[in-house]
């Protein structure tokens, strides 16, 4: 019942929040796609409330969008130059994807300018310098993510790594539509949201998945799923919920806020964390792999091997001590006439 009223309230509030107030215009937005799978833009298109149409009509003025723009060639690239020249300090730059830095960034060319290739590195640096805000959409842009994963032949980096100024990170693989929509709305209507130490809006990344999880009582009582598909806590099959900050458990996915990984009986893979994916793989293991020069092994195996070596060492030494009569001698000496125990016993007697 309460949920229903809340929902109604939101229904009434959202349009008011989004509608530009008198005298307010929609700020220009440039959305660059660098080395990306386009997942974040596609995810944003799934936003329901507000939807993509409302984003366009009420919130922002899309100047450039690598995926949905109709302009091509010089016309498209020209808009970037135009916006930079005419609206410095006004436009919001959203970047989706990593920025390759090897060979002067030639591993990602977003267009041509004066017949020369315009690299993502160049575009992000130039546009970033005079933008009002820079938003990194998705984990690749925010932290490197899959597109900067080992062996990273193009030496790809996050947006923050190639810009001097502050970048607002909105990670996710892909980003949850609300996270991006909410960040944009906040930037436009209320200014910069409160950020955590990794420059993620606390509004969405302020608590661990684990602390918000509906299955937390299964965790506390050690009722664990043995395989994906089991309806219990996913901890033992590698759930990264305890070390991942996001509000998936209550915001949920699929536009209508229907479900999220654990609810679908599969572990959280920690996609909003800076170490994703190299630093938290394998996804179905509790701990990330240990990488030693030339070897890659599970943390568990290191534990087992150390345990076996210790047990062998101790039992070997013990056998040696018994065979050489060292241990029996020590014990005899300890309990012999001049031993403390003996004296104590004598006194007691």
């Amino acid at each position: 019942m309460q949920g229903k009223t809340n929902h109604k309230l939101l229904e009434q509030l959202i349009p008011r929040l989004l509608k530009p107030r008198a005298g307010e215009s929609r700020p220009p937005v440039i959305w660059l796609g660098t080395n990306t799978c386009a997942g974040d833009m596609l995810s944003l298109l799934n936003s329901l409330d507000p939807g993509y149409r409302s984003l366009l009509t009420d919130l922002i003025d899309f100047r450039y969008n690598y995926l949905l723009g109709t302009a091509e060639g010089d016309m498209a690239t020209g808009i970037l130059d135009e916006t930079m020249a005419e609206l410095p300090g006004e436009y919001i730059l959203v970047v989706e994807g990593t920025i390759p830095t090897r060979s002067n960034g030639l591993y990602c060319v977003i267009g041509r300018r004066n017949g020369e290739p315009l690299t993502a590195l160049q575009a992000v640096r130039e546009l970033g310098a005079s933008a009002r805000y820079v938003v990194a959409a998705g984990t690749c842009a925010a932290f490197g993510g899959p597109y900067a994963a080992a062996p990273n032949p193009s030496d790809s980096k996050s947006v923050q790594a190639v810009l001097e100024r502050r970048v607002i990170n909105v990670p996710g693989c892909p980003v949850l539509p609300d996270w991006l929509m909410g960040t944009l709305a906040h930037l436009i209507r209320y200014g910069e949201p409160e950020l955590d130490d990794l420059n993620r809006p606390k509004l969405f990344y302020g608590e661990t998945i684990h602390n918000l999880c509906q299955r937390r009582h299964y965790f506390d009582n050690s009722i664990f799923a043995k395989k994906p598909g089991d309806p219990w806590c996913m901890y033992k099959i590698g759930c990264k919920g305890p070390v991942t900050f996001a509000d998936c458990p209550y915001r949920q996915w699929n536009s209508e806020h229907l479900s999220w990984p654990v609810k679908a009986n599969t572990p959280c893979i920690g996609c909003v964390s800076p170490e994703f994916p190299d630093g938290d793989m394998p996804f179905f293991e509790h701990l990330p792999d240990v990488k030693l020069p030339g070897i890659r092994t599970t943390a568990d195996r290191i534990g087992t091997i150390t345990g076996v070596i210790t047990a062998l060492g101790i039992s070997g030494h013990m056998i040696g001590s018994i065979v050489t009569n060292r241990l029996p001698h020590t014990l005899k000496k300890g309990f012999s006439g001049n031993g403390m125990l003996q004296k104590l016993l004598k006194k007691l007697r």
Binding site: D196, D197, L198, G206, T208, F219, D220, N221, S222, F224, Y235, K236, K240, V243, T244, F245, G270, S273, P274, E275, G279, D280, H286, L287, P288, V290, A299, D300, I302, G303, T306, G307, I309, T310, A311, G313, I314, H317, M318, G320, S321, V323, T324, R326, L327, T330, L331, K333, G334, F335, G339, M340, L341
Partner: protein
């Protein structure tokens, strides 16, 4: 007071003054509880003596406070009583290492005598002294995740931090097993001394 004590325990040499003993019996159970509950946390199974995550985590968190305070107290005591010299290996220990190893590998039956601790003990105790801060720092990163977000990135994030905490526990467990084995079998007088102070 001191003379009264030595009168009571006549002819006995003081091996461990009370702060060493008090602190040993504070951090030792804390480390053992940390190992047992920690291994339950990493791989929940009744083998580790817990039945649920809640009790294992509570145990771990109580142990961590005892460990942190007793560790800090021991470091302060080592500094103020200058007895860290008994614990940190020096040149003499390196020189006498072969002699010590020969005995431990049963190549000679002559047991070498050392001022207080043998080179093996010194290495183990110094390793504890170095590994426990690793455990405290990585553990705090996992405990107060929000406050320590920035320092956790030094380790590469919370997942690598978890791994570091685990690998340090594996090393501490192996050292603790070795230490307890030698404590129980090397000399019963020394074993007694960690309880009574006197050999």
């Amino acid at each position: 007071m001191k003379s009264l004590l030595s009168l009571l325990i006549k002819g006995k040499k003081l091996r461990h003054p009370w702060p060493t003993r008090l602190l040993h019996w504070s951090y030792a159970p804390a480390v053992l509880a940390g190992i047992l509950s920690g291994f339950y946390i990493t791989r929940p199974s009744r083998v580790h003596g817990f039945t649920n995550m809640d009790s294992a985590r509570k145990t771990h968190f109580i142990a961590q406070y005892v460990l942190i305070s007793s560790y800090l107290a021991r470091v302060y005591y080592a500094y103020s009583a200058k007895n860290y010299r008994e614990i940190i290996p020096d040149l003499k220990d390196i020189v006498r290492m072969p002699e010590f190893l020969k005995y431990q590998l049963f190549l000679t039956s002559k047991k070498p005598k050392f001022p207080k601790y043998n080179p093996g003990q010194k290495i183990v105790y110094t390793s504890f002294a170095l590994l426990i801060p690793v455990q405290i720092v990585t553990g705090l990163g996992l405990y107060v995740t929000k406050r320590f977000q920035k320092p956790a990135t030094l380790a590469g994030g919370l997942n690598p931090l978890r791994k570091l905490h685990y690998l340090a526990s594996v090393s501490i467990s192996a050292l603790a097993a070795g230490h307890i084995y030698f404590a129980l079998t090397d000399s019963l007088k020394k074993l007694k001394s960690i309880f009574t102070g006197y050999k």
